[in-house]
């Protein structure tokens, strides 16, 4: 491994001077985040056959009950029931398939009968010309969620989707994955009792779209838990899940906007709020000293503006970036957390999809937009956690940490991370994003500010329509859009690339992956290779120098 990483460094930038051989800015021995490459994980999930898939939802041991039993709390929360339930799932699924699959005639009937009505609605202004549609339906074909328009009127379309999926499963013993035209991709994902579909005219690859659908599924699981979701559909195949998901639609809406704009999803990494090393240490200490006596506390997470400030965890347990993204999305989408301390059940699908953690969620103070989440397995711990929160807030205020957080959020001009490109001083670099692979953290040249966050929250200014806009100056989001193709090529399962250097009259983009990091840089057009190599070298050194500030370099526990 060491030798390959050395090769890579030589092969890419840094030729004459070798000091950046071991340069892996942000790397540290222990990570708070589970750095499992989500792309690898995804690839193995996607390569399983129909039979394997039906089994895959069967019992996984519950992390939550593991924690509970460790703590000595014998209350098992019905986890035994769960495992038997999910293996039943297989049978009930097969049952419903044979019920619905009456060969191709079904499709034709569906097509003919409901075609006119369906066509009309899909051509209506609220649905036509959207960049990306997302539909979620039950495996019985009942609409659950549509990103645009009214699900009720989409029953016909959902029927067609359900028929397509089940015909391919039933007649061909196969799994429907995608349909594409020159300008449009439709991807299908069957997860447990749900069918998720994205119809997209964006430049995202099929894999990126399926990952987004997986997020949407996880968002639903996070509200219901997988156990409950499976149980509902076992009991009533025709259940209208919308009744249980009211309120969660908004979460899914926001999640898609978030995923389309934030490169964190593209890279499977978490953004950290850049803070002076000392300040972050103080914050972490404030949390550990306050919470180390609370036995059932699993995670204490402080976030601000979709960025992680710190995460303190129970020993042995780490969080997956995608769970943190769901927490970001939850906090960002819920105005109510701002006004009062909340006590809410949260299921983190990667951590444990079968049960709820209980979360105390509150903003640190009125003058600081940082939100503290205290996640426990104890369902009646509100008061001790509320008490802890106030102690933490007080400590943070006293140690001036709130000021530090606010400075970073407001992008105080004096901070080097506020405008990294200016601070690095390489004028040819227009934009970059960097992911440290071992810690699953990323840094980009456009840190999120509060007003940017506001922009995220304003639901989709363009309304998701496809617009041809004249490009005068690329926004940060445009840069990230341009990286999508490079990301998908780098992470392609069959033909991955280690390095891509592409230059055309508009810009020059370098994508480079080593064992330690992924780096994407946009330069001026027709950039000279020598210059690009030198610039990347300087950029890496800068990141290395600032790594303590822009990354979380330790993995604190209670």
């Amino acid at each position: 491994m060491a030798s390959t990483s050395k090769d890579n460094v030589q092969a890419g930038p840094s030729v004459q001077s070798n000091p950046s051989d071991d340069l892996e800015p942000g790397a540290c021995p222990e990570s708070i985040l589970n750095p499992t490459d989500s792309f690898d994980e995804f690839a193995s999930e996607m390569s399983c056959s129909l039979q394997e898939r039906n089994k895959s939802l069967a019992a996984k041991s519950s992390t939550i009950s593991e924690i509970q039993s460790e703590i000595g709390d014998s209350e098992k929360d019905g986890s035994e029931m769960k495992s038997t339930k999910s293996s039943d799932d297989l049978q009930s699924k097969n049952g419903n398939m044979s019920a619905s699959a009456s060969s191709s005639n079904l499709i034709e009937e569906n097509g003919d009968d409901e075609d006119n009505e369906k066509d009309d609605y899909l051509q209506s202004p609220e649905l036509v010309n959207k960049e990306k549609h997302v539909f979620v339906l039950s495996s019985a074909g009942k609409p659950i969620y549509s990103r645009y328009g009214n699900e009720d009127k989409l029953a016909g379309l959902c029927g067609v989707i359900q028929a397509l999926v089940s015909v391919i499963e039933d007649q061909n013993q196969d799994i429907l994955r995608s349909i594409s035209t020159k300008d449009c991709k439709t991807v299908f994902l069957v997860k447990g009792p749900l069918i998720l579909v994205a119809v997209s005219k964006s430049n995202e690859s099929e894999t990126q779209l399926v990952l987004q659908l997986t997020y949407a599924f996880n968002q639903i699981v996070s509200v219901l838990t997988l156990t409950q979701l499976n149980r509902i559909f076992e009991q009533r195949r025709n259940y209208d899940l919308r009744r249980l998901l009211s309120g969660a639609e908004r979460l899914i809406d926001n999640l898609f906007v978030f995923m389309e704009k934030d490169p964190a999803f593209l890279l499977g990494a978490v953004r950290c709020l850049p803070l002076p090393e000392k300040a972050r240490e103080n914050i972490t200490n404030a949390i550990t000293t306050t919470c180390h006596k609370i036995r059932d506390l699993v995670f204490a997470i402080l976030i601000a503006g979709n960025q992680l400030i710190t995460l303190v965890r129970m020993k042995k347990y780490t969080l997956h970036p995608s769970d943190i993204h769901l927490l970001f999305n939850l906090v960002r989408s819920s105005e109510s957390f701002k006004t009062a301390e909340s006590w809410t059940p949260i299921c983190l699908p990667k951590f444990d999809a079968t049960g709820f953690l209980h979360g105390h969620v509150s903003y640190i103070s009125e003058d600081c937009q940082a939100c503290l989440l205290l996640l426990t397995v104890q369902r009646d711990a509100f008061f001790p956690l509320s008490q802890a929160k106030h102690t933490i807030a007080e400590k943070l205020r006293r140690s001036n940490c709130l000021v530090a957080i606010n400075d970073a959020l407001n992008r105080n001009e004096e901070l080097p991370t506020t405008n990294p490109l200016k601070h690095i001083g390489i004028p040819e670099i227009r934009h970059f994003m960097y992911k440290c692979k071992s810690t699953a953290q990323l840094f980009t040249s456009d840190p999120i500010s509060l007003d940017r966050l506001q922009d995220y929250r304003i639901k989709h200014k363009e309304g998701g329509d496809i617009t041809v806009k004249k490009i005068e100056k690329l926004s940060d989001i445009d840069y990230v859009r341009n990286y999508r193709r490079f990301c998908s090529q780098i992470h392609c399962t069959s033909i991955p690339a280690k390095l891509i250097f592409r230059s055309n009259p508009h810009d020059t983009i370098l994508a480079w992956v080593t064992n330690g990091f992924e780096l994407y840089v946009t330069f001026d057009p027709l950039m000279d290779k020598d210059q690009a190599i030198k610039a990347v070298d300087r950029l890496l050194r800068w990141i290395k120098r600032e790594e303590q500030r822009i990354f979380i370099m330790n993995a604190p526990t209670f």
Partner: protein, 451 residues
Amino acid sequence: MIDVKTKINSFFIFNSSFGPREGEEIKRVLFFHPNQISSDARKIQVGLCEAVVKFMSTFTSEPCEALQTQTKRYIFYQPEKGYWMVLVVRIPYTTKAVSAIGEGRAEFLDPSVMNDLLVSAYKMFRMFMGPFKDIPIEEIYSTCDEFFAPFIMSRNLTNDISDVIQGISYLPLDKNCFFKVMCFIDLLEVNYPDFKCISFVYNDQLIWNGLSSNDMLTLYQYLVQTLLPKQVEKEIQGGAIAAAQRHGRFISPPEGIRTQDDLRKLVKVHLLREDETETKQYYLIIYRTLSATVCFTIDVNTHLEIDTFRSLDAFIGPQLSTIASTISEQCAIHALQTAQLANTEHKFVYFNRLNLAFKTYPPVNKLIPSTSIKPEVLSIIAGIHADKKSLGNYGEVIIKTPDEYWITGKSSNDREFYVVIQEKNANLKEISDEVKRICEAQMKGIFFYPM
């Protein structure tokens, strides 16, 4: 070489407007390969494809191109409104890095190759049979069967650069030599005004073309991939070589043209000539001497006399064999020069979208499949080739794979140049310098920017 019989799951053509009533669905299926599939199974496959096409049409006006399942890829092509050609290939949804699976090497085919196969199948069909819509409904089933059954069986999909980028190999000639070819063609067209020379091919390289470039590619592929290999085989085996071959003979129709009866066997084709504005039907006559092959067209309404062909034979025979020998001398000299020049161990491909000119090193030979370029690398080249937009009018992309291959693609207006270099411990700058050297040595006078 990949055997289509194992790789291609099925291939079918359908039109939903045939057999609109329930119970008549089977009429929609114009052709189905393999033919032992039951009609119920055919109906199911076609029904699925119809549903998929319809489903996508609710979201976009672009026609459906592909359906991917876990184990197969369905490739759709709608050459004429309502007529769908579907090729079903076993390509799994996710493939682990091909290099990891040793034997997977030959298994890997880029989907774009499959799409090109459909397009060229249709174009070949249209050349010999005309467009689908002009074929009477009672004949269309047998016509499709007659054409596509042998076509799909004879198709060998090789993992070859010439399958990824379909072009025409031109033969470079010096001025005098080219002038001789031109004079020959002019003289012939003046003396036999009904005949129009549409192509002059030496071995498998094109010297003169009188068709629109689209049709030229089809005719060229027909000559080089189907007709000429058979012919060469005959010549190698055969007694007939001696006198007949020196003075040349008609090779289409295959038995030659000797009697008035043979004239009825002339092949009809639908072609667009360079100097005309619409596709017309012609007789296609192909004449061959030594390694030179000349194609003519005659309007189908022309009254044909066997004497004309006899005198044409007498006229072309000696002239063409002289020209063919001159060209062969030229080629020998040229081969010697390039042998000295081409001391590069790197592989490259040049392609010009405007005239479809195509040149590779090492040279491609259809008869000996080259394993010189790895399938993964081919796939990357296919990707660059397909995504012309990302390089713009002029641009460059360099991609490094985990096994130390560097693939460079350059584009300048409609010209493309690809170089494959395998080099450990190289860096970006060294690779780009090497590519520049190859470009200057091999592509003299063709300008690529950025340098």
